[in-house]
């Protein structure tokens, strides 16, 4: 990250999609940032597809199923679980580049590097209890349909409680991002996004009763623990993807305030 590129790049071609991608790969000085941004966009969509459609583990089923019903639950979606989570395992490491890109946005702010580093480490460790452990539990459950139902019930709890009940990393991670946005004088993100981080952090607080209640609004499939959580998460993700794209368009690779976009939205060169 020390040598600037030669600045004599030819203008972006107007040709096919592939030719435009090739141009950005060869000449766009923001190529690294766009790789990070597109990884975020593609993988959030892919994770949505894998969790909601292929494995059918979201929205979550009821925590109150008895062991025989749990065995039935695993049996009903056996191949979806086995193949869906295999795909999650293959692409799961993409979270590293996603979190690195978000950590870079914090590094671009006028705050201590401690914020970016904490964010990076917190979200790197979150992947394991927050996502991969659920995949392991569902795979182990689905691979032997004749397993003791009591053990299946334990795997079912492990899957959903590790996924939803891993709270602190997202709670503290969001608060660190919030503090960085509010302290930042480079205008990387608008201040309202700082407060949106607070909303996201609060959803992790209201999830806590999922560790206690086996049914009702506070249970892991309940209207409070799941639906509000998911609603805020979708708004939050959409907001930061949009803001991150604007940040990349505005990026000047300096350390001072980020310049504002020219009024003509076509002036940017987003691929």
């Amino acid at each position: 990250m020390n040598a600037p590129r030669p600045e004599s790049a030819p203008p972006a071609p107007a040709g096919s999609f592939l030719r435009r991608i090739a141009w950005h790969w060869r000449h766009d000085e923001k190529c690294e940032l766009w790789i990070g941004w597109w990884t975020l966009v593609v993988f959030y969509n892919l994770y949505g597809l894998l969790f909601f459609v292929i494995t059918r583990t979201q929205p979550p089923p009821e925590p109150s199923l008895d062991p025989m019903e749990v065995v039935q639950w695993f049996g009903d979606r056996r191949h979806g679980l086995l193949y869906g989570y295999a795909l999650v395992f293959i692409v799961g490491g993409a979270t590293a580049i996603m979190n690195a890109t978000l950590a870079y946005s914090i590094r671009r702010m006028s705050v201590s590097r401690a914020f970016a580093y904490s964010y990076l480490v917190i979200y790197a460790l979150a992947t394991l209890p927050g996502m991969l452990l659920m995949g392991v539990a569902c795979t182990v459950g689905a691979m032997r349909p004749d397993r003791d139902p009591a053990v299946m019930s334990w795997l079912y709890d492990l899957a959903f409680l590790s996924f939803e009940g891993t709270m602190g990393v997202f709670l503290i991670g969001s608060l660190i991002w919030m503090a960085a946005v509010l302290l930042d004088e480079n205008g990387v993100f608008p201040k309202w996004f700082g407060y949106l981080n607070l909303c996201n952090a609060l959803t992790e607080v209201v999830v806590a009763p999922a560790w206690i209640f086996q049914s009702g609004a506070f249970a892991w499939d309940g209207s409070i623990a799941w639906w509000i959580n998911m609603g805020v998460f979708v708004i939050y993700t959409t907001a930061f993807l949009t803001l991150l794209r604007r940040m990349i368009l505005r990026e000047d690779f300096g350390t001072g305030p980020l310049p504002e976009l020219a009024t003509d939205p076509a002036a940017g060169s987003a691929p």
Partner: protein, 239 residues
């Protein structure tokens, strides 16, 4: 500052020692040399852990892995430092590599804990020993995500390292793409109890583990060259 690179050479020389420890622990664990079959019944799995010939070998090999699994992290940190020397505009790739360096060994440690737990009370209900054994093998075999990401990140980072003398030669990028591809089938471990993707299968066990071993050896060699060159440049600058 030549002393800085000297410290890096020291870290790099921990790798042959680590390799010997890993290989010894691998040979010591009775479930690896002829990998345990996923088709074993709960009683057979329990008998494997209860066998007085196996039990100490399971425990000692897994204790050794527990001690030395994270020994690879300093080597990954050296790769992070080489990524930082590349002609990039942002630290995104070195950040992402740090995230992978934390993820991969942690996952291996989880599998290690499940194996040690299964061996801790071999008299446990066979259904529970089977569960711990499944959790260990599935975690160990299927969790290739960070390893794949690490190779893809390196490949992209090397391609974007556009300078007169790139940090790593271009073929290292291609090599990493091949390794990433070889790791993919192991993710499907859970889907088959027999055949090449089962956890004792050719693709999931042998190809995957040999690919990881080869990756470590090749990356260590190119790392040694890059650090050597860096040291020579530092010395020339200091003279």
């Amino acid at each position: 500052m030549p002393r800085r690179a000297d410290g890096e050479v020291l870290l790099l020389w921990t790798l042959p020692v680590l390799g010997v420890v890993w290989l010894s622990a691998f040979l010591l664990f009775p479930g690896f040399v002829e990998p345990m079959s996923p088709t074993m019944s709960a009683e057979q799995v329990a008998a494997f852990y209860r066998d007085p010939q196996n039990l100490p070998r399971i425990r000692y090999s897994m204790i050794a892995f527990n001690w030395f699994a994270v020994g690879l992290i300093p080597i990954l940190a050296l790769i992070v430092l080489q990524i930082r020397r590349m002609a990039h505009r942002t630290p995104i790739f070195s950040y992402a590599m740090i995230a992978c360096a934390a993820g991969g060994p942690t996952i291996f440690l989880m599998a290690n804990l499940f194996w040690l737990l299964a061996a801790f009370r071999p008299e446990r209900d066979p259904e529970l020993t089977l569960l711990l054994n499944d959790l260990a093998w599935v975690t160990f075999s299927s969790q290739v995500g960070f390893l794949i990401a690490q190779s893809v990140i390196l490949a992209v980072a090397i391609h974007l390292d556009r300078q007169e003398r790139p940090v790593f030669p271009r073929w290292v990028a291609h090599f990493n793409v091949v390794v990433a591809a070889l790791l993919i089938p192991a993710a499907f471990t859970g889907a088959a109890l027999t055949g090449p993707v089962a956890w004792d299968g050719v693709l999931t066990f042998w190809v995957r583990n040999l690919a990881i071993g080869l990756w470590i050896a090749v990356m260590a060699a190119v790392l040694a060259r890059a650090i050597g060159r860096q040291r020579a440049e530092d010395e020339a600058a200091a003279a």
